[in-house]
């Protein structure tokens, strides 16, 4: 094992990052507890940072200083009394604008919905509020999370902090750009086809799509088991702390996992000798678009995991049917549901892509839909069989590095076409946990992530493997060049 390589200078910043904005959750709470830091001052510093830097990327869609400072003030009072509510008390967190936060608007990137504040937190947000977290801002999303980039009729387009001419990916691209610029240590994202993992991969971050039911939701999402909410962070540990909070039970969720999530005890330095890991450059999928540089970086995960003690073999699930076929049906009918869920007189305000794909969805026959359901179950069963032989599956997140911020999809593809991006959505159809971990940068300085997929209930092992890579590739210390 060669972890002494962490002593190599990794930071690309030319001057000290002498700033509270890069502190981890543990460092923040250590500061609060010892009286060295104050949640109010940290929140103020981050709000000032958002005001200064957000115009460059357009990641933040709602900032309410009074709201945030009131939460921070309550946290400071608790820390002063020595009675913090949790390991996240006073920790600033951003929330993607698809999730409801009581007292804040929820626009979902849509012109069809107003900006009046909503009345009730969604369950995972309620758990963070109960844990004392400080809500810093809401982050940008394409309308209803419908794109691989972050562009909406309401807020326009979000840029990638590592290269402002590129997309940060989506749909949690606002959350990602915010984290990469140091707007808090953690962000709440959501993922229905890759929306946590894609922007994490494109902005040098860690993002975990938990398994379906791991993080309770209410009301249940019609898109289940595809859509879930989950943590995004600069470090694996911060994401694990956040997952432990947002996975707390919600009595109204009929599908939540009845088993509590416990962060793995050996997360600091996991020994993976208990794991048998499959590596696959294509994950068994049809890949019309490939990039040699991304492939080479993703392949570097294998020796890193082996160095941590894992047995790593080349293997991929044999899909009974191309996962793209059923996925397309669910994608089209989900857009239809989005259209149907909008008052008729407001539908013309919807993103044209949703209207276009929704119209295709309206023509999906019931027979075709039932067949897609059947195919999804066959895919889930094939994956289940595969994961009886392997503990984890590792491969790419994205076929290509971040592309032009002006485009919704890479050149040569139509906006409604998902076929070029085949590696993420299969795990939404099976409901399994999957994460993106930074693995490297292309020659042009663009981030590349590697995907780690676990079986149902396998979040702890996904986190352990992710940490094993992070230990050996401490890319979380690297900052966007625009920060100097």
């Amino acid at each position: 094992m060669n972890i002494s390589s962490t002593t190599e200078p990794v930071s690309q910043t030319g001057h000290p990052g002498a700033d509270v904005c890069w502190l981890s959750i543990d460092q923040l709470t250590a500061g609060y507890r010892t009286g060295a830091l104050s949640p109010i001052e940290v929140a103020r510093a981050l709000i000032a940072r958002i005001r200064m830097l957000d115009p460059v990327v357009n990641a933040i869609v709602h900032l309410d200083e009074a709201y945030t400072l009131a939460m921070a003030e309550a946290s400071l009072a608790r820390w002063r009394e020595g009675r913090p509510l949790s390991a996240m008390d006073g920790v600033p967190v951003t929330i993607k604008d698809l999730s409801a936060v009581a007292g804040m608007p929820k626009r979902r990137g849509s012109l069809a919905f107003g900006s009046e504040p909503v009345g009730e937190d969604t369950p995972c947000v309620a758990r963070m509020r109960e844990a004392g977290a400080v809500f810093l801002a809401k982050t940008a999303t394409p309308e209803a999370g419908c794109k691989v980039v972050t562009r909406s009729p309401v807020h326009g387009v979000t840029a990638n902090p590592y290269d402002l001419t590129r997309t940060p990916g989506g749909s949690s691209g606002g959350a990602a750009a915010a984290l990469a610029l140091g707007f808090g240590p953690v962000a709440l994202g959501s993922d229905g086809a890759g929306s946590i993992r894609i922007p994490a991969a494109y902005t040098n971050l860690f993002g975990l799509k938990p398994g379906f039911g791991r993080v309770p939701a209410f009301p249940p999402d019609i898109d289940m088991p595809h859509s879930v909410v989950g943590p995004m962070a600069r470090t694996v540990r911060d994401a694990a702390i956040m997952l432990a909070v947002i996975s707390q039970p919600e009595p109204r969720d009929p599908y939540m996992w009845p088993v509590p999530f416990t962060p793995p005890a050996d997360l600091a330095m996991p020994d993976l000798s208990d794991l048998r890991i499959a590596f696959s450059a294509r994950l068994g999928c049809t890949a019309p678009l490939v990039d040699a540089e991304s492939d080479a970086l993703v392949a570097q995960a294998t020796p890193l995991l082996a160095d941590a003690g894992a047995v790593v073999e080349e293997a991929a699930p044999a899909w009974p049917v191309d996962p793209f076929l059923p996925f397309r049906v669910f994608w089209e009918t989900a857009c239809l549901a989005c259209v149907e869920g909008t008052p008729a007189e407001k539908r013309r305000l919807l993103d044209p892509l949703i209207l276009q794909v929704g119209a295709t969805g309206a023509r999906v026959s019931l027979t075709a839909y039932m067949r897609a359901m059947e195919q999804r179950m066959a895919i889930a069963a094939a994956s289940k069989a595969f994961f009886t032989r392997y503990d984890l599956l590792v491969g790419p997140v994205m076929p290509v590095p971040p592309y032009s911020v002006l485009r919704d999809v890479p050149e040569g593809y139509a906006n409604e076409d998902w076929s070029w991006c085949p590696y993420t959505y299969p795990w939404n159809m099976t409901g399994q946990p999957a994460a993106s971990v930074p693995i490297g940068f292309t020659e042009a300085g663009l981030p590349v992530g590697v995907q780690i997929i676990g079986p149902m209930g396998g979040e702890a092992d996904v986190l352990r493997a992710a940490r094993a890579i992070e230990l050996r590739r401490p890319l979380h210390l690297r900052r966007p060049p625009l920060l100097g």
């Binding site: 002494s4 002593t7 200078p9 001057h15 000290p16 700033d19 250590a30 009286g35 001052e41 510093a45």
Partner: protein, 369 residues
Amino acid sequence: MNALMHATIEVPTLAMEHLTKSFRHQPALDDVSFMVPKGALTVVLGAAGAGKTTLLRSIAGLEQPDRGRILLGGRDVAGREPKDRNLAMIFDNLALYPDKTGFDNIASPLRIRGDSRAEIETAVKEVAARLRISHILARKPKTMSGGERQRVALGRALVRTPSLFLLDEPLSSLDAMLRIELRAELRRLQRELGYTFLMATPDFAEAMAIADTVILLRAGRIVQIADPQTLYDAPVDRDAARFVGAPEINLVPARIEPGHGLHIAGGVLPLPDRLAALAGSGPVAVEAGIRPEAIGLAPADAAPISGTVSDIEPLGAQAAVTVTAGEAELRLVAGAADLASLAPGTKVGLSIAAERITAFDPRSGTRLA
């Protein structure tokens, strides 16, 4: 009268006694004992995951040890709240508030504590004078140099007059040049003002450069406590030898032949007494540890060991040259003058300073001599 009664017995600033901590049966710290004398700079050196942060957090009171005692100024601090331990923790990045002036950054912990305006004014000015940063108190961090920011971060810790500074990889995210500059400055301040530092780092070069004493931590256990030179010259085992030094120490099989010499890398070296003592009457197999700088280039025909250059890796002004000699691969550091005549395939002779060779047990890796 007993003379001892008049001697000043200096109570160490920090004493750890058998500290043990597990996270759900995963041992993080295992029977850790050491002392930090007043005014010393002690470095906890270890790879990521070795337990450095858990150790510092335990001292600060942020983790509860399962067993063992922590004595600060001779007093057991079990049950004492972190804010009442009279410690300062300095974080990665020196974490300042970027939108506050130097004054307000230093004042912030006193404001959290609720000190009066006048008390704060006095305390901040006093600390600033001591750190010689009075002139930058009105400025914001972005207009300060790296060294000035570091002084402000120290000032913010110092304003609460801690007895011990805990520094958790304070320079880890800085670029290499600045890190070297700031660590020298940190050392200067620490000495000048007589502070007591316990600093964690994964970087052996940093530890070597500034520590009075290095505590080498591996998998939650103390492997060795020594001054930097001793750690470098007499590492307790093979892994310690490999962790400290770059390019890495050469580890090659060797045989001690009493009365004959040290058989190594296809040649024979004179046997220093220290190694000869390891062998009784018969030969003994050892693993020889040779620092790259203990190997020199010599004319191929006159040297005790000869080989062929297999790789040259540039290190700036110098280069790491790998030579295949017998069964062994030996790395040495060559300067520009030598490099001109070297290329992969060049036949070279090697001279090795035999007195600098360490011998390890080939099986256990323990240092024998």
